[in-house]
């Protein structure tokens, strides 16, 4: 009984705080993406051929912790299978934040574009299934500034 109360408290805390943080984060992501819109970031491995460029490696990474609510729902989802929608938003936030940080770095360097952009996503909470997942998303690419 005591355990049930703990779980209920953690799940509701996770839901309220996690959801608040997520909403705030999405709002900020959309705003900052708009700001960074002018700086193109592309996956293409071919650099532009129209002149000389200064080049530098730029990267952005972010760690996002899961909340108890998401872990709980994902745990239940494991019994039945299907898409774990609570993790979708987590990964979406992480990738977009990492890309944004990379673009912001490139922007500070006065870059005109970033090419050969790649993502890495890793779980940094270890192998234990008991720990809630904490993910790191890392975006990196080559920033170019026209000379």
């Amino acid at each position: 009984m005591e355990q049930l109360i703990y779980v209920a408290v953690f799940v509701s805390l996770g839901y309220f705080f996690g959801r608040r943080a997520e909403k705030k984060h999405f709002k900020s992501l959309i705003e900052r993406e708009e700001k960074m819109n002018k700086l193109p970031a592309m996956g293409s491995r071919m650099p532009p051929q129209d002149g000389k460029y200064d080049q530098v490696l730029v990267s952005g990474s972010v760690c996002i912790a899961n909340d108890y609510f998401k872990t709980f729902v994902a745990g239940l989802r494991n019994l039945f299978g299907g898409k774990i929608s609570t993790y979708e938003s987590l990964l979406d936030r992480a990738r977009r934040e990492a890309l944004l940080r990379m673009k912001e770095e490139a922007y500070k360097l006065g870059a005109d574009l970033v090419f050969n952009v790649k993502y890495e996503t890793s779980n940094i909470s270890g192998q234990s299934s008991k720990k809630p997942p904490i993910i790191e998303a890392h975006a990196y690419g080559t920033a170019l500034r026209k000379l």
Partner: protein, 278 residues
């Protein structure tokens, strides 16, 4: 020309509200757990009923039951209870290998229970409330009937089946179930089992005394105790009483059974011996 990224739609994340998914999953899981537990419990208990009594006795022999009893300190009471149990065993025509061992417990808990291997535990807290031998025989007869109908092993089997399943899927089941404590506390009988034992107790009461007088008194004591809550000291009494049929029903069932079988409801009550004074 200034570069412009197209505005991407926000469609990476499912639009379903997380609470909706949460409740669907939670209800689904609970239903699944309940259904599986019931199925396992029923299957486990019916299979356990097939275990021969000799094997049950061996398992019970692994635990030192007498270490929990205060028979040594109260030899007179213990031998009196044992003597009654032997008499009841004959009245209930228990097979000879089903030997009942009564353990007296000098504890204020208002309880009595039967467990594996024909071991019956009687607590001072309940015994001191009994007015006469007739009600004591009803109580003892009820517990002995549990042994006769193999209720402890059936209940144990059902519990083990559920515990094994829980441990297999990784949740921390009460692993104590296989230990000493589990043997003494986790046995819970269904209402059907309790009614069956009640009927058997009435039968042996009639066989021994020739009437049912004093039997229903036992359930009046329970009813009273439940009302005042002044029972036992350790665990809440409701835990023990909850699976038992309602007191009122049990008191009435004495009347009904007496009528049905043509047994007398009045008769001489046998007093308890003097040393049975607490």
């Amino acid at each position: 020309m200034e570069y412009q990224n197209p505005k991407l739609p926000e469609n990476n994340v499912s639009k379903e509200h997380p609470i909706k998914e949460f409740s669907t999953l939670l209800i689904g899981t609970l239903v699944l757990v309940v259904v599986i537990s019931i199925a396992l419990s029923v299957a486990g208990s019916s299979l356990a009923g097939l275990i021969p009594y000799s094997a049950e006795k061996k398992v019970a022999g692994l635990y030192d039951m007498s270490s929990h009893s205060d028979n040594d300190r109260f030899p007179k009471i213990a031998s009196y209870l044992q003597q009654l149990a032997d008499k009841i065993s004959i009245a209930q025509s228990l097979p000879p290998e089903m030997k009942i061992t009564v353990h007296y417990m000098d504890s204020p808990t208002m309880n009595a229970f039967a467990t594996l291997g024909g071991n019956v535990f009687m607590f001072r807290g309940l015994l001191e409330k009994l007015p006469n031998e007739n009600s004591l025989v009803t109580l003892l007869g009820h517990e002995i009937a549990h042994v006769k109908y193999r209720h402890p092993i059936k209940s144990f089997g059902g519990g083990i089946a559920v515990a094994i399943a829980m441990t297999t899927i990784g949740s921390s089941a009460d692993t104590n179930i296989l230990g000493d404590a589990g043997l003494l506390s986790t046995l819970q009988f269904s209402r059907k089992m309790e009614s069956q034992s009640d009927l058997e107790a009435m039968h042996n009461l009639n066989t021994i005394y020739g009437h049912l007088n004093g039997g229903a008194e036992l359930f009046r004591i329970f009813k009273k105790a439940r009302g005042t809550e002044d029972v036992g000291s350790t665990k809440s009494p409701s835990e023990f009483f909850s699976t038992h049929p309602q007191d009122e029903k049990r008191i009435n069932s004495f009347k009904e059974t007496a009528k049905e079988k043509g047994w007398s409801e009045s008769g001489q009550l046998t007093p308890l011996p003097d040393y049975f004074n607490f």
